[in-house]
């Protein structure tokens, strides 16, 4: 029953996403692309933090790794798919390595280790001019071609991004619906107990980081041809922080949380037509209030509201 309702909901949203940019300017299509791109990265972070319970403040650096890899490969006239694959695999491996600290420390200690990693990435991107273009960054990345079709138009690139995002969502859905999803949650809820039931905690923790980071890399592979200009500043700690807020605002461990959270961060200010600075302040206040009242995020809040009349009904029966 609930599964059906969700399927209908998803179908409606996908249909809406297909027609959304039609008749709108390039800017709207661009905006929707950045939203989908961030949603992919936030989905990955949600796997690491929301499902497996391991905080990471390094997600922006993985977008960076994916974006630089894609840029370097496509600027050398190799196809986008190759660049994307290099970026995703690189992120998977680096994410695996970043998972090792998570085997030793938790909570804010892990937050600061990953934050330090992001800062180190920033320094490397800024200083290694020969590879990354340093502070000047890289620009002029071509948009991918799919067979005879070029995605250089904003609308075409939007549909390309939408397809990649949907594919990424489906794969993640399959992962969290498989026994792995239950294992990730068990890892989050009680690691010692999970291990006593046969879970290889070490391997799964590393995988949680590796897969989450690979999603960051995929987002980067979209960002490079979308913005067609990248510099170290796009991937600093502030970006990681804002991705973390997206995941939390949407709802930790909720599958659609990151999609909603990134929409609140990217699309809502446009819809409300407020200036970015005021919006950020309001957003920050809203996050603080949300955390004190409902740490489950917006989806948690919706669930709570939905459950309230049911409980009242239940009370009337008993």
């Amino acid at each position: 029953m609930r599964g059906h309702r969700e399927a209908i909901g998803v179908a409606v949203v996908v249909a809406a996403l297909i027609v959304a940019p039609l008749g709108q300017g390039n800017y709207i299509a661009y905006l929707l692309c950045s939203w989908l791109m961030l949603a992919i990265a936030a989905m990955g972070l949600n796997l690491t933090l929301g499902y497996a319970g391991r905080i990471s403040l390094a997600q922006a650096s993985f977008i960076g790794i994916g974006a630089y890899a894609t840029s370097i490969v496509t600027l050398a006239h190799y196809p986008w798919v190759l660049g994307m694959a290099v970026g995703v695999v690189l992120c998977f491996v680096v994410g695996l390595l970043l998972g090792f600290p998570a085997l030793r420390v938790r909570g804010h200690y892990l937050a600061f280790v990953t934050l330090a990693f992001n800062s180190l990435f920033f320094l490397v991107a800024r200083n290694e001019d020969w590879l990354t273009g340093g502070t000047y960054g890289l620009s002029g990345m071509p948009r991918p071609r799919i067979g005879p079709v070029s995605t250089s138009g904003q609308l075409a690139f939007y549909y390309f991004t939408l397809a990649v995002a949907l594919l990424a969502a489906v794969v993640l859905r399959l992962i969290v619906r498989s026994p792995w999803g239950r294992a990730f949650k068990a890892l989050r809820e009680n690691e010692v107990r999970a291990e006593s039931l046969g879970l290889d905690v070490r391997r799964l923790t590393l995988l949680a980081f590796a897969i989450g980071s690979a999603y960051g890399g995929l987002a980067g592979a979209i960002e490079a041809p979308l913005v067609q200009y990248i510099d170290p500043g796009s991937f600093d700690v502030v970006q990681s922080l804002s991705l973390l807020l997206m995941v939390v605002v949407g709802g930790l461990g909720e599958f659609w949380g990151p999609v909603l959270g990134s929409a609140v961060a990217v699309l809502l200010p446009e819809a409300l037509r407020v200036t970015a600075a005021y919006y950020l302040m309001l957003y920050a206040i809203a996050v603080i209030l949300l955390m004190t009242r409902c740490p489950g995020g917006l989806i948690g809040l919706a669930r709570r509201i939905a459950a309230r009349p049911a409980r009242r009904r239940g009370a009337a029966v008993s």
């Binding site: 600290p101 420390v105 200690y109 600061f112 330090a116 807020l245 302040m281 920050a284 955390m291 004190t292």
Partner: protein, 292 residues
């Protein structure tokens, strides 16, 4: 040798200011198990409060300083505790961490929007100028900064160890349950820790801003350096945080001068990762002090 002495001294001067922020960080952690991700912004803000007194209200510098100090304690001490930390109860966990992250965004954006995004000069409270020691050119301000910061930490340590209130604060932080039974007003002692943190942040702000100019984004690097200093020192030790701060200030300057300028910021980060992974109790902490 002369250059080394110069580098060492200016490192100690910056490091002592990091230490102030780190000590405050540790105090709040001890008292309320709250990791404040906005600590950097706590050091950024007081300078702007002074600038508001000076430029908007046209007050003399001393009045603006008093105003900035008092308002800092009110906002970053009292309001921070009552409005942000307290609603989360005794164990805030991740939601509290997220809330302090949001607070850091709020403070930064508020300063940027309402005061300005440009770096502003900040009046120096200490005399400029230099003097020579054995061929080394030593800045008077560096020496005075260092002495001022050390004096503040010394006073704080004396207060915590020698006064009744100070000892009650320590008891309340170490074991609130037992302290409560012994008649300590734990809630009040926790509040003191927040107020002291705000005061330390304000002092750090007034000392460091003349050197780096006042800018809304100043807190970004300061916050992480303060945490690194606190971690290296053992997280819940005042003296540890002091040593951690000084160590980072000196290492940072030494790296910049003798090893690499472009990667100077990397050293404290690598140090942080190494310390957390191999000695989470800190370089100076002992096994019992570990609170992971």
């Amino acid at each position: 040798m002369a250059q080394f002495l110069q580098v060492l001294l200016s490192g100690l001067a910056t490091g002592s200011i990091y230490a102030l922020a780190a000590v405050g960080f540790s105090l709040v952690w001890q008292a309320a198990q709250a990791v404040n991700f906005a600590q950097g912004e706590f050091v950024m803000l007081p300078a702007f409060l002074v600038l508001i007194g000076e430029h908007w209200l046209h007050w003399p510098l001393w009045a603006a300083l008093l105003f900035g100090f008092a308002l800092s304690i009110l906002l970053l001490g009292l309001a921070f505790k009552r409005l942000i930390v307290q609603p989360f109860g005794p164990d805030g966990g991740l939601p509290l961490v997220i809330a302090t992250m949001a607070l850091s965004i709020l403070l930064k954006e508020a300063v940027k929007t309402f005061y300005g995004a440009e770096a502003e000069p900040f009046p120096s409270l200490l005399p400029n100028g230099t003097f020579h020691v054995g061929g080394a050119v030593v800045s008077v301000r560096d020496v005075l900064n260092l002495l001022a910061a050390l004096a503040v930490v010394l006073l704080l340590t004396l207060f915590l160890d020698r006064t009744k209130t100070g000892r009650q604060m320590q008891a309340a932080a170490q074991n609130p349950g037992v302290a409560e039974i012994l008649g300590v007003d734990v809630a009040r002692m926790t509040l003191y820790a927040f107020l002291l943190n705000a005061a330390l942040a304000a002092v750090a702000s007034f000392l460091i801003t003349p050197v780096y100019l006042a800018k809304f984004s100043n807190g970004e690097s300061l916050g992480i350096v303060a945490f690194i200093a606190a971690i290296i020192g053992g997280f819940n030790r005042i003296r540890g945080a002091l040593v951690g701060g000084l160590l980072i200030g000196v290492l940072d300057n030494l790296t910049a001068t003798y090893v690499t300028l472009s990667y100077r910021a990397a050293l404290p980060l690598v140090l942080l990762i190494a310390v957390i992974l191999w000695r989470p109790q800190g370089l100076l902490g002992d096994e019992e002090a570990r609170i992971v």
